[in-house]
């Protein structure tokens, strides 16, 4: 039997190129940046639907007051695992997938600099999430302390699934750090001759800065979860006042990771939008240099604002003022970016294909998320907003209509390059409009519910909130269903469709558009000359 299989394999080897084993092995052993990029993107899409299914459970339970479908502790597990999966399983791997696909093609390199590490950093991810999801089936259920896992709820008062949670976060962290190292090494060493720092596409710039943020803060997260583990199982008291520790210390360490993490999830989005808007406005990006400086300032400031998540923990007035001022300051470079995008559109010759539509929606809706962020920065008002649905609305505006809309825009924008086929424009427009309307039905009323006083992370609520929650849930189901259209578009485009040209879009500029569609297996075997 084994001989037969062996023969079969050898036969196939002959047919394929020397570098590619067939079938499953091709994907398991691959060191190619495009294959790994595809794996990351498909993984992220899968996680997006799993995390989304949990959001549907949450919205179904909140459709009416009272406990109908699930019990309170399972509800908490759903909010927790939904958050973890969307942050670490959907948004971050999707951006890493885009980096893998695009960075070598954008800087004129044949592949990523560290291809074997690239393989490993992807293939440990499915295990991390298998462990996390498996913990839901343990006796006592999965983690239910929120994705922020505040001690001592996650230490003294949590179930034994905490150990699995810690282990899976460790693996996710290792994967992210390796991915970040790979991006940095690739950008530093493999740029084509003439591609100076200030000629790099903004997607490359934003990812470079993101990669440094990742290397700076993922070890902090690893430290936090390790302290949770030792507090729970090995008798330490980092976060227990009875042993000389401090539960608020947990929050300082967590948010020192957590706030830069927020920018890790949005800086690459800025890079994507900065690629798409000039293409469809047929006009160069306005203020390239100021975009680079703004991104860097946001990254630096992100280390100075963590305690704005903790205004109610009882900090000294001086600290509250410091973190309020620093947080408000972030509005300046972020504003510069938005102004630059609008200036890029100004006096352009715009067309409105699906990637542009998602990018435009990103600019408006992300800015709305920025406005609510600015309101949240004002400490006295934050005392009222904190831990209510106003915050839920805020971070879903920046993460769903921000990060995820940018990822979808990127998929539509580069899909013809990746597959060699144009996607179905009509279906894509349907996907856009359904998503746009439903996502606003879903998240906009949350602002009002929060201002009216509904706390977040509760499975049941007072009767005054009932009508709004029913409406929000309908928006949620509609948004979930709309994403099935996206899968349809993707499948259709991968299978076939109108042949894409090399440049794909009339206004597209950059090295990736000089390659064939789909591009050769090793992007640039001889480096192109950049003028």
């Amino acid at each position: 039997m084994s001989t037969v299989t062996h023969d079969h394999d050898t036969a196939h080897h002959g047919e394929h190129h020397h570098h590619a084993p067939s079938g499953l092995k091709r994907w398991l052993y691959t060191t190619n940046h495009k294959d790994i990029g595809t794996l990351y993107l498909l993984f992220a899409l899968t996680m997006f639907f799993i995390g989304g299914a949990m959001a549907m459970v949450i919205r179904a339970e909140l459709f009416q007051p009272g406990l109908q479908l699930v019990q309170a502790d399972f509800f908490n597990q759903m909010t927790t695992v939904h958050g973890l999966i969307m942050v670490f399983g959907a948004v971050m791997p999707a951006f890493t997938g885009l980096a893998n696909w695009l960075i070598p093609m954008m800087i004129g390199a044949p592949d990523m600099a560290l291809p074997r590490m690239n393989n490993w950093s992807f293939w440990i991810l499915p295990f991390a999430f298998a462990i996390l999801l498996a913990s839901l089936f343990m006796e006592g259920g999965g983690p239910g302390f929120g994705w922020t896992f505040y001690a001592p709820l996650s230490t003294k008062y949590s179930g034994d699934s905490t150990a699995l949670f810690v282990f899976s976060v460790h693996i996710m962290g290792i994967s992210s750090i390796m991915g970040a190292i790979n991006v940095i090494v690739t950008i530093f060493n493999l740029r084509a001759p003439g591609m100076t720092w200030m000629k790099m596409p903004l997607f490359v710039w934003t990812w470079l800065i993101t990669a440094f943020l990742l290397i700076a803060v993922m070890p902090v997260l690893a430290g936090t979860v390790t302290m949770v583990l030792t507090d729970k199982y090995f008798g330490t008291s980092f976060f227990d006042a009875a042993g000389g520790g401090d539960p608020v210390l947990f929050q300082h360490i967590f948010w020192f990771f957590g706030h830069p993490e927020v920018y890790i999830m949005i800086l690459p989005a800025f890079g994507i939008v900065s690629s798409i808007v000039p293409t469809f406005a047929r006009k160069p990006l306005f203020g390239y240099a100021s975009m680079v400086y703004a991104t860097s300032s946001i990254a630096l400031l992100s280390f100075l604002v963590w305690a704005h998540h903790m205004f109610t923990t009882g900090m000294p007035v001086f600290a509250e003022l410091f973190f309020m001022y620093c947080t408000m300051l972030i509005a300046v470079p972020t504003g510069v970016k938005v102004f630059n995008w609008v200036a890029t559109m100004w006096k352009g010759a715009m067309t409105f294909e699906v990637p542009m539509m998602f990018a435009l929606a990103f600019i408006v809706l992300f800015t709305i998320g920025g406005f609510s962020g600015l309101m949240l920065a004002i400490t006295p008002a934050d005392f009222q907003y904190h831990d209510t649905y106003f915050v839920v609305a805020h971070f879903h505006y920046v993460l769903v209509t921000g990060a995820i809309f940018s990822i979808i825009a990127a998929a539509y924008y580069w899909l013809p390059k990746w597959t060699g086929h144009m996607y179905d424009e009509t279906l894509g427009q349907w996907h856009f409009w359904c998503s746009l309307i439903s996502v606003n039905m879903l998240f906009f009323p949350m602002h009002f519910v929060g201002l009216a006083g509904m706390p977040r992370r509760i499975p049941d609520y007072a009767l005054q909130f009932a009508d709004f929650n029913a409406f929000i849930s309908i928006g949620g189901f509609a948004f979930g269903l709309s994403q099935l259209l996206f899968v349809w578009v993707l499948v259709k485009c991968i299978k076939g469709g109108e042949k894409a040209t090399d440049q794909v879009w009339e206004g597209a500029e950059g090295l990736e558009w000089t390659l064939s569609s789909p591009p050769p297996y090793h992007s640039f075997t001889t480096p192109p000359e950049v003028k």
């Binding site: 006796e139 390239y288 010759a349």
Partner: protein, 382 residues
Amino acid sequence: MAKTSRYRCSLLSLLFVEMASAAEMPLNMTQGVTDISQRVYDLHMTIFYICCAIGLVVFGAMFWAILHHRKAKGVQPAQFHESTRVEILWTAIPVFILIIMAIPATKTLIAMEDTTDAEVTVLVTGSQWKWHYKYLDYPVEFYSLLATPQKQISNKIAKGENYLLEVDRPLVIPTGKKVRFLTTSDDVIHSWWVPAFAVKKDANPGFINESWAKVNEPGIYRGQCAELCGKDHGFMPVVVVAKEPAEFDAWIKEQADIQAKAKAAEQELLAMNMSMDEAMALGEKTYLGYCAACHQAGGGGLPGAFPALKGSKMATTAEGKAAHIDIVLNGKAGTAMQAFGKQLTLQEIAAVITYERNAWDNNTGDLIQAAEIHAAKTGKKE
């Protein structure tokens, strides 16, 4: 046909009639009943209007461009792509706007954090999943539990007007006086929030936080725990009743008397014995109020999180009895099991242990009296 139209009607009512009744929910932050809450509201509105103005300008420019600078109109794209002057301008203007915002925010914050010269001080202690209030100036303290019946939550009976926002014993404070709240916790982090006072302060175990309110109008003010604190985080409301100072004084005096009498009565009760029926009735009431959230009404617990009492060795064997009394009195370190010795009366503890040893087919026949609990409690101390 009739069926369809009725169906259509109910759909319509879902969309419109229900929306009309939503008028009950305020669409904006409350202005509250303190000077501070009014200032916070004003601050919130100021920033909101500034954001709206910025949004109008930015989105206005963007939509103008979308309408006019489109390829379909046959325009030729301009090629300008930088202007240092413009970049400096749109960096400087936001900085200026932010400074304008920061000034009132700073003033309000400093006023909010000034907890000096309080006339009444209340120690607020959170625990899974209830609040404890202790007046530091009067011999009065009590627990405040959710009063909404379990049957309303599980949709067996109609929900009341203040569903999930009602407690058995609200905190009572005087109007017109500066009341200071010291916040702490017995277990995980909770957050004590009364929107009408603009007070939201985390209750951190092992640490004490300060906040204050000077309420202008008498009334009943409702809030909730705002920090995820485990399973029943959504079921630990905060209710504060503000009374005129004279009424408050009368109330607090009455409470002090009641509590002093209860303490004296407890000593007398030691000599008295409950019948099995009395013990089971009081035990069931106490169990549902304090124990059922974790161990469940049927005593089955939640596997992996909270142990079952039904059929457990501790609650069904003679050898387990002393340990049973000990764990209820003193809790179990490192778990969610609290020390109920300081939360419940001796009689309640005796009754609840009796209940746990006889309900759900545990049938030990044990009848425990207050004196036995008293002995266990004092024997431990001496």
